[in-house]
Symmetry: none
Subunit: 317 residues, 6 copies
């Protein structure tokens, strides 16, 4: 096919090296260069909480009705590992994007005064940091450590990919991000569809097999490309004293987060992945015209909606 509306995209399956910001940024640079040089990627999606880390299995010393001092110290440590926007870490990511020419979408733990947020940021090789999305509802124990985003960070960004050696034409598309179980929020997805998202990024740490069903469903429902990047992490990737599933069976190679990164087309075809059991970079050609082809018979916020019966009020600021 000689269509000129093709974007080369990667999803990166990787984990945060023991909460070290420097190591994580180095790792991001290495993997982005890999996506760029090996796969000619124009966009790369990293997992949820890649910057800052996902404290799997921790409870932060919280029980109903009580918090421990140790838990507060753990929170302070986690707080200090998070990043402000803007900050030198953002600058570094902008630099990685600029040097590789790769548009980066990555999960970060964002610090805003007293509250942390599970955020996805968008960094363009041309314009630098261009937007962020804060997770709207943390899941279960995440509610102990992360605040809730709101209508002010729900961007659907119009983005242009510059011509490359392989592709002669500039291509413009729209990008959004939904983090982990946000992908189970039908109104959030509907909002994104209504704004025309075509590259639906889904950074996550949900590595259960059932996750794959949802990625395919969303691609079909939204007639968009789904780019799901999951962490793959083992006990050795966490600080030595971190909580684990079974404290009596600690082993560096025990899997903490199993991966499952995947790329799906608007008609539900799996273009790459799911990748399981290792870190790695998956890439695929995304023919943006497939979004239009799909909307011929299903446009859930267009001809296939019933605004007279169901109206979605989105409080976006």
């Amino acid at each position: 096919m000689s269509s000129s509306r093709i974007v080369r995209a990667s999803v990166v399956q990787a984990c945060t090296p023991a909460y070290s910001l420097t190591d994580t940024l180095d790792k991001m640079e290495r993997l982005t260069r890999l996506a760029s040089e090996r796969d000619r990627a124009q966009i790369a999606v990293f997992p949820e909480a890649f910057i800052g880390g996902y404290p799997k299995m921790s409870t932060f010393g919280v029980v109903v009705g009580d918090r421990s001092d140790l838990g507060r110290e753990e929170f302070l440590k986690y707080y200090n590992a998070a990043i402000d926007i803007p900050s030198p870490a953002i600058t570094r990511i902008e630099q990685i994007s600029k040097e590789t020419g790769v548009f980066i979408v990555t999960g970060v733990i964002e610090r805003d005064l007293g509250t942390l947020y599970c955020t996805a940021i968008f960094v363009s090789p041309v314009h630098g940091f261009v937007g962020k999305h804060r997770k709207l509802v943390p899941t279960a124990a995440e509610r102990l450590i992360w605040g809730q985003g709101d209508g002010s960070t729900l961007p659907v960004l119009e983005t242009s990919f510059l011509p490359t050696a392989e592709r002669a034409t500039e291509v413009t598309t729209k990008i959004s991000a939904s983090i982990c179980w946000e992908n189970f929020m039908p109104l959030l997805r509907t909002y994104y569809y209504s704004q025309g998202t075509q590259l639906y990024c889904a950074p996550t740490v949900d590595a259960r097999p059932a996750w794959q069903n949802s990625m395919v469903h969303i691609a079909i429902e939204g007639r968009c490309f789904v780019l799901s990047a999951c962490q793959f992490a083992q006990e050795k990737d966490y600080p030595a004293d971190h909580a684990v599933a079974d404290i009596n069976a600690r082993h560096p190679d025990n899997v903490m987060i199993a991966g499952g990164s995947v790329i799906v087309s608007p008609l539900g075809k799996i273009l790459a992945g799911p990748l399981l059991g290792e870190e790695g970079v998956l890439s695929a050609d995304l023919d943006l015209d497939d979004c239009i082809r799909g909307k011929f018979d299903l446009d859930t916020t267009g001809h296939y909606a019933r605004p007279d019966v169901f109206e979605l009020k989105a409080n976006i600021s």
Copy 2:
């Protein structure tokens, strides 16, 4: 587990015998008795358009800007095969339900003056006909023959299943129906979730493999049981002159609708099916408490919603 909150449910995979109403009702009675007697079912879900038929492959003589006389005649025939509510056909279904003790959810082609609707009806062995749902958006060529439902036929019915030989206690639950691609309508689903649906019935004729992903996704998203009943139909099940996929390769055994009926639990576990390549009845025990266990960490219209950011206005009358 000896929980007393279990419902025994069946999905019926079957087709309409050549648009014959009498034959179809007889078939319904036979299959309902099978579900009841063999599987001890308390509820049985039949496919989309089971009563009235799904005119797969037909165009009703319609091209852009023109309609043929022949197509009008075909519509007349189809119209006459449809049923009024109430009507003797409904009475017959009530009788089947009462005699078998099985709550019936079935797709019907409903006639209302000059317009046909693709409808699902709910029939209780105790209360008879208790509600109906008209498909909100017909898909593609269906728009040539069916009208659109509205907010007046979106029931979520609180239903009690009487004690049986196997189960000593009356069990109360909530039931809804979404027909075929309505299942891709996120706002409709959200509305049903918000009303507490636990037995989410999905009569369909979509037999593509990707359908399975959506059924699993919906079960997880809504923390409800998904009961998807698809038709399995071959060319021999249609009138002799009916349109087919390849007019040059007509064969009575050619598959028109491939099936794929399935039952999924609120945590995404497939309890029965998918059934492919034949008619049949699938059954499973549904532990209603699994809905609560699932909502512990995901209630998309409760603790996992963000009504401040996204509000669903439903125009229900």
Copy 3:
């Protein structure tokens, strides 16, 4: 002073007997009768989660990124101990109120489809159930089990206390409820002040000494009577296998929630309590004119506000 604008109020310090609804309602009846007969109370405030129970020290099997099956079972049990509104439990409370003539404000765990809420209900001896307030933000691990209330359950109820043997005149006042750490939410408090609350009920399980400072502060800030009812609970009051602070030092008499119920006047004077180390009923005469005397020099939503600089937008429905 022979003012006729006096209300006799009680706060009840008590715990939920091992999640048993029947026992809890019996206990409520006994304590309400005590307040009525011994103290001539016209209103009695019970603690947070008195109906339904406060699962102190439990984690419901939740760690970051994972939930256990056991935790889901614990949630199911807790879910089943909660009450619907309306329901027979509500009817029973209405009956207690009617028979004793005592207006009851009590914490309940409210069940609404798939989500539980930490709710305070208002029950009048004359009108029965007259309103409810759902906690807006659960604290820490409470976020694992309770949803968030919203602007539809923030009543400030105008209430009349009928003449009694001791007091010849009907007295009208306004009542609101803020549950536990909601009392640290300055905008919620401001909203209540702006609606004229005079009996500011604060059901809680926060038994830390610092709580007393906040109760006095709020009374002064809002020029209202603060009626704070805390649970007093020991390990023996919980089911045998319930989580405790120190699993190696289980003892039936170990304190789980230490109490601290108190009644404070609009000028910051402590009228009764704090009660520590035991269950009990505290009572005091509330001279409603003290609200006016206090507002003479401080009315934070009247003459002491600056609506030109700070405007509180309340999304109340």
Copy 4:
């Protein structure tokens, strides 16, 4: 703990010497030097109206509907004791700050054309005068002599404390000021919290015991350090003919303002004070990380807010 994020802070309890500007500035210099040399303070907070004086017990000849000529003369005298910003008095305070290296927050009576304001100023040893806050609502008789501030003087100043002999690292924090009963204004406090205040300065002349409750409450509510500096003044500190509580019992040692200066930590712990019955300087180490430890479970303008229900509109210019 060897945290490097510690600030050494003082609150100064002192009164204005008989409205004499020169004497007051000399006193400020002496007390600032004491805070610096004895206690190694990096910041010192002085009471409300320390510069200019607090005319306790005076009525300025005002009754409802009438003003006396004598009252106008008293006002003129008071007006002349107030200071302009900038003015030589400000220059002098900048010099004191620069020479001692102590960041100064002090109450002043500010003159702006025809109106006086009760103002708090912020003076940095490096940058000199960096901001001011005018009291928004004067209390009771203060309304006879002071105007109202507005949204243009509500700074929350990001401030860096330079390394000292004791501490090797520069520390950055945020500072605000609320004067006397402004501390009872929940919307003002909320605004300050939302801007990230960590050193919440509360210059006051409210010496009632109940004041302590509010200081602890605010520290907890805002998860900030509260630095409350109150005047301690006796009749001899006022001009000879000044009004007193009991004109028949004049005595130089009679207490006019009783003090009560205090420093409280973000978790509600009293770090120094309350100081009663004398002038003096209280100091404490403030570990700024305690703000983060505290926000772990309470951030009233972050994860513990409900902006969908309550929105604070601040008209700041």
Copy 5:
């Protein structure tokens, strides 16, 4: 002149009988009937605080930095003498208006939860209570007892006067009210002019001779009729123990408020009054066309404004 655009207007000079609401309403009825029957008045303006009373000479026990318990009791008494809107007192005034056919503008002390306001109400014989204005800035010691109105109570009411025996035609005009020293607020007046006020009511208790200058100036500046109603009160009109100017020279006939009610035309001509030294009712014919005649050469919010240089932003809700 036989113009049909004439309104017959009265200003009533009277005081509040010793804070008695019943007596005051009786007095209002008597004086309104006098205005109606003797003078054929269609509108009557009563003084500031006529309902509720003006506590001249009182200090409510307030000195800078302190309030006495006695003062709080006095405030409570004053609070109880104030009226809610609506309330039986309003109903009574509506009845007086209806029975006499006189449109009433009167000062009232309005109670709104914890704060009192100095309010002017507008009562129509046809429509009853039609609006109110709360004084924006209390003067001096009034700030101790009254809150501030805001942009929500600044009505300029279009009002029709029905035909009478003397005048055959219905006349429509616009009415506003500015209370006492509000008349010195140039922006408030400008706003009223900009809304077309023609009957500029000025209820007051300012009885100084200089007041007359302002009334004439405003009439000219605004090209409107000024109807200023002042109280005339003696010591005997207050409760026996009320504060007085000279406690050593108490005499029932001592003047507390000296009167000075007056009616001025849009060109500055005094049509009635000033009335001094007694209670009474002044009346005059107001030829509304005089407003137009005056605006020929001066329309300060029209052709004589400079909106390019000075723009008045009014925050009216």
Copy 6:
């Protein structure tokens, strides 16, 4: 009283001698010397259009839709009598000021290319010409001959009066000018008040008695000294052929402009004048502290403003 903040001020009531510039400047010198030598004045205010003349009674040959040649000639003459700024006339006035030590405020007809303006100039004995104000809105027929000033000529000048034989101390104050009916422009006045004017100069030719009311009102409203200088002119003071009120009753002594110059204190006390029926110089001691004494209870752009309700936007350049 030995206050050192007293300024000695004069208002000069005089007319322009028949449009003769030289004669007018001579007259100005003579009257300034009189004010200085006889009255020890430090400032003298001259009437509107004193330099250039006020062509009272003229129509300049203008009717609706037509202008006469004669009128054009009359304008030419008037144009030529006006002065440029700077110009020799200005230099002469600077000299008069310097020699007498009197600060001069005077009305002039200012020529700026093709347009004339009715201007007030400020001339200091030390600094010479220091500012000017052009009338913003000419009244009625003035619009035929004068242009409109704008926001670039609205100075409020801080001015120092040097020590004199009588007074040992330099006194600093603020001066502004409003010409004739500009004094009826409430927004202009408000702007001046907001800039702190204390010597409010009101050059005018409005000699109607009602003018006095406005001067008193403004002094009270602005808590400033009002210095109103009006022309006193008779027919003989105009060129022989000048228009008059009654052409049939021409008489040299007929009054054209009747005077009424006056000096009023900030509390509304008339300190000098009004002067009627003759030319002359009025003088008074202005105790600047009276502005402060007055602002104690009224500061219409400070504590007595409501910037949240009414905001004055001034477009000053």
